[in-house]
């Protein structure tokens, strides 16, 4: 019994680690030059408010109004997001993660994407 439980825990652990690896996959693809890009609207109250409106329109249905995820879609209140640079989040917004269901938002003008990053940063 104990052995079976151990196997189940081991398998579950592997799945969780693998899932975490998959979720971090996009981070590995961010070019170095993109990682260090600075948000021109960082900390600006207007940009945070505008980013909040954009988030509500485009992102909240999947990621939740409180960023904690919804309908099985990932939470944005994670160490990965908190530890990402503004440039990395901006890259993810532009490119998406098509393999894992995150659409690209390159159709939004660049300033609007930075406004969303400013909003996300304000909620971490």
């Amino acid at each position: 019994m104990r052995r079976a439980l151990g196997i189940v825990c081991f398998v579950l652990g592997c799945v969780i680690v693998a899932a975490a690896e998959v979720n971090q996959d996009w981070l590995k693809r961010v070019p170095a030059a993109e990682r260090v890009r600075a948000n021109p609207y960082a900390g600006q109250a207007d940009a945070v408010a505008a980013g909040g409106l954009l988030f509500a329109d485009h992102c909240a249905r999947c990621h939740g109004d409180d960023l904690s995820g919804r309908n099985g879609k990932p939470s944005l209140r994670t160490p990965i997001v908190a530890g990402s640079t503004d440039g990395e989040l901006f890259w993810l917004l532009r490119n998406g993660d098509l393999r894992h269901g995150m659409p690209p938002w390159s159709g939004l003008p660049e300033p609007e994407r930075w406004q969303v990053v400013a909003f996300l940063r304000s909620r971490q």
Binding site: D46, C62, D97, L98, G107, L108, E110
Partner: protein
């Protein structure tokens, strides 16, 4: 016999009924904004977000010289199956005064993004099966030797002339500095006939009127509007490839994303040669249901 003015009044009356119904439906539930450019013919590389269902009405109206005016209507159901795969069904119909109102057929299209990241130019592969009769007035594309002469066939004769076609498009699209530039190249083949392969093109550019969102919610702010233009037309067939003996249009477009409401687009298309309609009016209303099927899951917040 109804005059043109009477027919137009009736057509507008029917449209008013549609708008009223649509407005009630739209106001009754939450919506999301799409990021698609305001094009009617040209495709960009914007795909439907996975899990979202977009329902769109596209209307066309034109009055060919020395021929009956007509109104076309197409309803689209576009679903984001994956972030890289969008599937869509179209149902089309048309009405011509003093003739009839017809259901003209359906289309089923699939679009695939082969590259998983954004590039300077982003390709999308498009495959469509179409089962429609030649009374179709949706003008979703122009191909082969399409021209105003095709519109002279009466509905009674056109309804029995059903074409089953396979259509393929190469969609190239770029987003840069707020602009979208899209180029489409299409080829189609009638499967139930001996017609040669037909070719066509569409090229478009558009841009939001404002690059930044405002800090306050508003309906008429510039960031909710996008303007652009598209050029589309035929390229002949394998027997007569080229820009001649076909129709070409230049169409300015304007789109308006109403916050938590529908997106409305409008476009007058101006014919560029004698084979084209003088003006082809288009209006589109689209509404996106975000995470459509999750709405039916028990216990999910809406």
């Amino acid at each position: 016999m109804r005059g043109m003015a009477g027919w137009r009044a009736g057509w507008l009356g029917r449209c008013s009924g549609f708008w009223a119904t649509a407005a009630v439906a739209f106001l009754g539930c939450a919506a999301g904004l799409a990021q698609e450019p305001p094009y009617f013919v040209t495709y960009s590389h914007a795909m439907e977000e996975p899990g979202n269902l977009e329902i769109e009405f596209k209307g066309t109206q034109a009055a060919p010289k020395n021929d009956n005016a007509f109104g076309g209507a197409t309803v689209e159901f576009e679903y984001g199956a994956k972030a890289w795969w969008t599937t869509e069904v179209y149902l089309s119909g048309q009405t011509t005064p003093d003739q009839s109102t017809e259901f003209t057929g359906f289309r089923w299209e699939n679009r695939f993004r082969p590259l998983m990241e954004e590039h300077w130019v982003n390709p999308v592969l498009y495959f469509e099966y179409e089962d429609a009769n030649t009374a179709d007035r949706s003008f979703l594309e122009v191909s082969g030797n399409d021209g105003v002469a095709d519109l002279a066939t009466r509905n009674a004769a056109a309804r029995s002339d059903v074409e089953r076609e396979m259509e393929m498009k190469l969609i190239l699209s770029s987003n840069t500095r707020g602009w979208n530039f899209s180029e489409n190249f299409l080829t189609e083949k009638v499967m139930n006939g001996d017609d040669p392969w037909e070719f066509g093109y569409a090229v478009a550019a558009s841009r939001p009127l404002s690059m930044r969102a405002g800090a306050r919610e508003c309906v008429f702010c510039r960031e909710h509007f996008a303007a652009g233009a598209e050029i589309y037309g035929g390229l002949g067939t394998t027997d007569s490839f080229g820009l001649h003996d076909t129709s070409h249009y230049l169409a300015p477009t304007l789109g308006w994303d109403i916050p938590r409401g529908p997106t409305i687009a409008f476009s007058p298309g101006f014919g560029l040669n004698d084979n084209s309609l003088k003006v082809l009016w288009r209006v589109g209303v689209q509404y996106e249901f975000q995470q459509f099927f999750s709405r039916f899951h028990r216990g999910e917040a809406r």
